[in-house]
């Protein structure tokens, strides 16, 4: 087995195609492990991992914690809302204090883009980026591609459209990098106000008509509208957004093919996707959640194997 070309997982843009293949093959094995009656393996008994969440998260935090515990790592959790960050402590001071408790690996979510890269230049522990602002969310992109591979056999050559709030999404950018690296054709679709101006330079198609996008694609990844990141009004109303860019059963049934529906969660039912679509057999949303644990186990395992004893 080869090893990862990186010591940290800061973003998909730092990975190569072989890294993604290795992560997927390792995740295949962990997927089998987490379907056993006893889902735990002892590999990381001597590793301590700190989950540092400077921004709210439910599913990513739970998924990482479960992955760590299933690998038998010791886990400590930190959330900014209950910490000395509120008292003015710097990021490096916070992390160094935690690292002095002999932590080997840090999983960090931070509101500022590049926080993981900044930290990796200042501390010795291995870092996994669990989302940095609107920049990257590499494990989400990996689990999304892994889920496409699982449903459609491969990612290469597939047409994937990312629909919705691309501007504020860290999932979109990581997905574009991951999908392009694996040879997929990528399109983004949404209101012009929610598509970054530079997006075309990443080698993706741009479309503002949802029906046209759906007719083109094999997979539609529906993004959540991130109201919490919006400081101005990007569309007239939620109702109008849902009419223009929401995916409902009528629209889905009117297509001449069966496309695969994805959503990174949490879902705003009735806005970007209706309940009957989210719960249909074309949606692989819950598969994505299950695959998330396997992918995170694989990433943690592979990075831990590079930590010197």
């Amino acid at each position: 087995m080869s090893e990862l070309s990186v010591d940290h997982l800061l973003g998909i843009k730092y990975l190569n195609k072989a890294d993604i293949k290795l992560i997927f093959e390792t995740a295949d094995h962990f997927k089998e492990v987490i379907n056993r009656p006893i889902k735990k393996v002892p590999s990381l008994r001597d590793i301590t991992i700190a989950n540092l969440f400077f921004e709210n998260s439910t599913r990513t935090k739970l998924s990482f914690e479960l992955a760590e515990k299933r690998l038998s790592a010791d886990v400590i959790n930190f959330s900014a809302s209950q910490s000395s960050v509120k008292k003015g402590e710097t990021l490096i001071d916070t992390v160094n204090n935690i690292l002095s408790m002999k932590v080997d690996m840090v999983v960090m979510r931070h509101p500022n883009p590049g926080a993981g890269v900044f930290l990796s230049n200042h501390i010795g522990a291995s870092i996994i980026n669990a989302g940095d602002g609107a920049h990257e969310h590499p494990t989400q992109a990996l689990l999304d591609s892994f889920s496409i591979r699982e449903r459609l056999g491969s990612v290469e050559g597939k047409n994937v459209v990312i629909v919705g709030d691309v501007l504020h999404s860290r999932v979109a950018l990581s997905n574009i990098y991951a999908l392009k690296l694996q040879g997929a054709n990528v399109m983004v679709c949404g209101p012009k106000t929610l598509l970054p101006k530079y997006i075309g330079t990443l080698g993706v198609k741009v479309e503002t008509n949802l029906r046209k996008a759906l007719n083109w694609c094999d997979v539609a990844n529906m993004l959540r509208v991130q109201n919490e990141r919006m400081d101005i009004s990007y569309f007239p109303s939620t109702r109008e957004y849902a009419q223009q860019y929401g995916l409902n059963k009528n629209l889905l049934n009117s297509l001449d093919k069966k496309i695969t529906i994805m959503h990174p969660g949490p879902i705003n039912r009735g806005v970007e996707i209706t309940s009957d679509v989210a719960d249909s057999d074309q949606a692989i949303i819950l598969d994505q959640v299950q695959n998330g644990v396997a992918i995170r186990m694989a990433v943690i395992y592979l990075l831990a194997s590079k930590i010197k004893r």
């Binding site: 087995m1 080869s2 090893e3 093959e25 390792t26 295949d28 094995h29 089998e32 492990v33 056993r36 009656p37 006893i38 889902k39 735990k40 393996v41 002892p42 590999s43 990381l44 001597d46 690998l71 395992y301 831990a304 194997s305 930590i307 010197k308 004893r309």
Partner: protein, 179 residues
């Protein structure tokens, strides 16, 4: 590097039939027994034995699978060698079954220790036995011995015992390699 043949194809075939007969002697129609090959190379031996039991001794419904022990090994992050995971395929219930672990070479015993832990993830077997083609008897690190052995070999630590299988290497042979 020099190597000498410990077993040729004919000798391996005779040994496999003898091991199959010993298994029948203890496990009858295999209704409560399952065979589990330990990845990566015990898989070939397990498949070969299952085939002999089916075709030559007309044992019906032999259940066999293979178990990967990578995530249960005790040398993760301890050596230069990167641990490579393999597939696990156990499509039957192991709870209350008699399990026969099958591996090509028994050396330090650490793989078997890992396998004993790994199989607990699938349930609580009634009993576990060990079958190996080659038993390097003076090299054990742990108190583990086989119930069935093809050939006992005395080799020093600088020597390597390599089992080649027709399915993988294009020949059935066992070599003692001195580096």
């Amino acid at each position: 590097m020099s190597q000498r043949v410990l077993l040729n194809a004919k000798e391996i075939n005779i040994i496999l039939h003898r091991l199959a007969c010993q298994l029948i002697e203890n496990h009858g129609d295999f209704s409560d027994t399952v065979l589990i090959g330990l990845q990566p190379r015990g898989k070939f031996l397990a498949e070969r034995l299952a085939q002999i039991l089916k075709t030559d001794y007309k044992i019906k419904n032999i259940q066999f699978g293979h178990l990967d022990i990578t995530f249960f090994r005790d040398d993760f992050r301890r050596g230069e060698k990167i641990l490579e995971a393999n597939t696990t395929e156990i499509n039957f219930v192991v709870e209350d079954k008699n399990i026969v672990f099958i591996d090509d070479v028994l050396y330090t015993g650490r793989s078997i220790r890992a396998a004993l832990t790994a199989i607990q993830s699938f349930g609580r077997p009634n009993e576990i036995e060990l079958l190996t083609l080659i038993d390097r008897r003076f090299s054990r690190h742990l108190p583990i011995q086989p119930n069935y052995r093809g050939r006992q070999v005395d080799a020093i630590n600088e020597e390597k015992v390599k089992v080649n299988w027709m399915e993988n290497e294009g020949e059935d042979a066992v070599y003692l390699i001195h580096s």
